[in-house]
């Protein structure tokens, strides 16, 4: 079984993103970037499936500019066999990403495609489902557990009110939830070795794919802050506020 893992380069989750003075977009110049956390879970699970003998090759792909080589090297250092950069400077929306990945899937013919369940920058959570749709493959989203049985993937999904287990016939698309696993720490020697490994670069423009933006960005703004609250000194004072000022408790 061959696994393709698609990874996204996003602003580090600890950074509070600011907006540009003219409100035209977010200001992420010079901000610390890294791999989308959910995508790291996807890599980890692909590597575990290989270590368990279910997969023979794990390939990582990222879409973007040469700057994305940093997360591809991170994936190589974690243990993926090959890395591919789909090179484009365009701002890609989920449908465009899914279309480009579809072309790569046609070329690479993976049995399983893994992605994070959402990216922590745009919080869209669409790419895996869209890719599965375009390929007419089955999908399992928000996955917290995977087992391989014969030609099927048995996936446990985190859904409202509990969990659901479904079985997918390969080839299939799986999106990872954070509770799927704890990604391994990358050791420095592995990172050094990953620097020497080749990254295959494919120009996205050569794939003859419609990657037009379907959503035009009008503006960005900051949400209204909640009004400043007050500190209370005791349970009695708290209850008095809730009962008399707010009337939320009897």
């Amino acid at each position: 079984m061959k696994i393709l893992v698609a990874i996204k380069r996003v602003v580090d989750y600890n950074i509070k993103v600011r907006i540009k003075a003219d409100g035209s977009n977010v200001d992420i110049d010079g901000v610390k970037m890294g791999i989308n956390p959910f995508d790291e879970n996807a890599i980890e699970e692909a590597l575990r499936l290989k270590e368990q003998g279910f997969a023979t090759e794990v390939v990582a792909v990222s879409l973007g500019t040469a700057a994305n080589q940093d997360i591809l090297r991170h994936a190589l250092a974690m243990g993926v066999d090959r890395a591919i950069l789909l090179d484009t400077a365009a701002e890609l929306q989920p449908l465009a990403v899914a279309k480009l990945l579809k072309v790569l899937v046609t070329r690479e013919q993976p049995d399983l495609i893994m992605l994070g369940k959402q990216a922590i920058d745009d919080d869209a959570g669409q790419t895996g489902q869209m890719l599965a749709a375009l390929l007419n493959y089955p999908q399992a989203t928000f996955v917290s557990k995977i087992n391989k049985q014969a030609n099927e993937i048995i996936a446990t999904r985190e859904v409202g009110g509990g969990t659901e287990t479904i079985a997918l016939t390969l080839p299939a698309v799986v999106t990872a939830d954070l509770r799927l696993n704890n990604p391994r720490f990358v050791k420095l020697p592995n990172l050094m070795m990953a620097r020497k490994k080749p990254i295959e670069t494919i120009a996205a423009a050569d794939l003859n794919t419609d990657i037009s933006a379907r959503l035009q960005l009008i503006k960005v703004s900051e949400p209204a802050a909640r009004k400043a609250g007050v500190m209370v000194d005791s349970i009695d004072e708290l209850l008095a506020k809730l009962r008399t000022h707010e009337g939320v408790l009897a």
Binding site: Q118, A132, S144, V159, G162, I218, R226, L242
Partner: protein, 310 residues
């Protein structure tokens, strides 16, 4: 053209969030149709038909829709999409699973978790865990979106019923099958629609303490229990009560955060609450910045005292 709302339900009951989706759909001034996909979910279809503002309920019944898969829901939505310029649902694990798939099949973008609908296919939604609001305009001919339930009031249930029509669903998608599910059993109100939510963070220290401290308070208040991702990851609480960016979004009358630090990923899911109370040992915890009332105290003394005093 009309608007199609994809209804979420459990086979017996229509989800409360469908009523919020109906209110959101009124922004277009187009006839509102509700799609109920299930295995003879007649009660659900009847509830949908009684909802004020709904012009038509489309019921698709098939054995394979008893536990609907994203593939089957997406194919069903696409099969009737020719009549619709807008396809929407409340943002939930159900719609997040199936609607992006339908959007891709229709070759249109999807707009996830919309906070405001502003006309001319323009929407406000949050990015970066709610830190930034973005206004976007769709250029697609069909609008596919999910709405942030707590931003829209629930449509009321009336006395007059809209027409219910039955349609046949496309054949089951053969490459995926439902195996089983585990539903959390709880006597408490549903987290997404509870009037009061008591939520716990990692400071509670263990699953036993989470239960010991918060369950009696929630019981006394008739509240739902929530948790931060840190508490869920640490195994203190089940995943389906996680409040935040990647979990459930709540907007109760009263939100009591116990031992919650207040990471933006968590506050994204609760900052629309009417009144927020934070109890934390750390006076510098960011949760106090979004709390109406803050109390710096030892959790293991303050919470039992609060429970006893109510």
């Amino acid at each position: 053209m009309s608007i199609l709302i994809l209804a979420e339900h459990n086979g017996e009951q229509l989800s409360q969030n469908v009523l919020q989706a109906v209110t959101a759909a009124k922004a277009w001034n187009l006839p509102i149709h509700v799609l109920v996909a299930g295995d003879n979910a007649n009660k659900v279809a009847e509830s949908a038909a009684l909802t004020d503002g709904v012009a038509l309920v489309i019921q698709a019944s098939a054995a394979h829709l008893a536990h609907p898969l994203a593939e089957d829901i997406a194919n069903l939505v696409v099969s009737i999409s020719a009549d619709y310029s807008v396809i929407l649902a409340a943002h939930s694990s159900f719609s997040r699973n199936s609607l992006p798939r339908a959007a891709a099949l229709l070759d249109v973008a999807m707009i996830s978790d919309v906070l405001e609908i502003n006309g001319n296919n323009t929407y406000v939604r949050a990015i970066y865990a709610g830190n930034i609001l973005t206004t976007v305009q769709s250029v697609d001919s069909i609008q596919v979106l999910t709405i942030h339930g707590s931003k829209f009031s629930a449509a009321s249930i009336g006395n007059t019923s809209a027409e219910i029509v039955n349609i046949s669903a496309p054949a089951a998608f053969s490459q995926a099958r439902w195996v089983s599910e585990v539903r959390s059993e709880s006597d408490r109100p549903a987290l997404g629609s509870a009037k009061i939510v008591v939520s716990g963070g990692r400071s509670l220290g263990s699953a036993e303490k989470f239960e010991q401290l918060l369950a009696p308070l929630a019981t006394k208040l008739g509240a739902a229990l929530g948790a931060t991702r840190a508490a869920v990851d640490a195994g203190f609480a089940p995943n389906d009560i996680q409040v935040g960016q990647t979990g459930v979004t709540v907007a109760p009358e009263l939100y009591i955060a116990v031992g919650v630090s207040g990471a933006v990923q968590h506050t994204y899911g609760m900052k629309d609450s009417k009144i927020v109370v934070a109890i934390n040992e750390d006076p510098d915890a960011p949760i106090f910045q979004v709390a109406d009332y803050g109390l710096v105290a030892d959790l293991f003394e303050a919470v039992p005292a609060l429970t006893a005093a109510i």
